[in-house]
Amino acid sequence: MKGMTIIVKIISGWVKVLIFLFGIYIILFGHLTPGGGFAGGVILASCYVLLMLAFGREFVEENLPLPLASKLDCVGALAFAVIAILGLVLGGSFFINFLYQKYLPGEALNLISAGTIPLSNLAIGLKVATSLFLVILVLSMFRPDMSGDKKE
């Protein structure tokens, strides 16, 4: 079974761009408007899940193979920890907002403001998106083994 009908494939092919763009917008503007890394990450993951449901698992695995997703997951967690440790090195305490206090104060209500908060949002978004994508990929990988077991 390779995905759904042609109607679903074409529609999801158009919609996937909008969903991905919306997820990136939610992550980038998380410090100004409602949203943030958690919500945006889940939206990015749901974009990939839509593709998986419409086109089948193999199509998604060609675009974002499982080892790459696993590495991106680790990169997201590592980036968040590195931001925290940079606060320790440059600002004097763990998780301090060193960019806002020392180097780049920015102006309130602009995109470039709030120091490390947008960077942390990016790291959290990457981590949440890839880990939720990994869970659903692993859950869907398990299906053929189940049906094979039942027939025996």
Binding site: T33, P34, F38, V42, L109, S131, V135, I136, L139, M146
Partner: protein
Amino acid sequence: MPYALCFLLFVIGLYCAVVKKNMVKIVIGIMVMEYAVNLFLIMLGYRFGGKAPIVVEEDIVGAGGQLSSLFINSSVDPLPQALVLTAIVISLGSLALMISICIRTYERYGTFDITEIRRLKG
């Protein structure tokens, strides 16, 4: 009174998790309890006629990001919202963990019934 209704929701989830013997039903009971706790925490911070804790342009008076007293006196509590935001995403991860345990058990024993599983174990 809304607190009591919220607690009733929690008790329904507790009943489902304790009494039912289907594994998926137990997972559903735990999810209902999570919803009840999240709702209760958000309700604790609500105030009548409150505003969302998002600063817009007219709330800033004076230099250096001084906020107007109108915003300070009408904003809802941002702390429970921050806690619940993490709790919701964690609940999705724990849901995936519980569901994978259910799938594994079904593959091993061919049933979701926990009393049957206990009997098969001997």
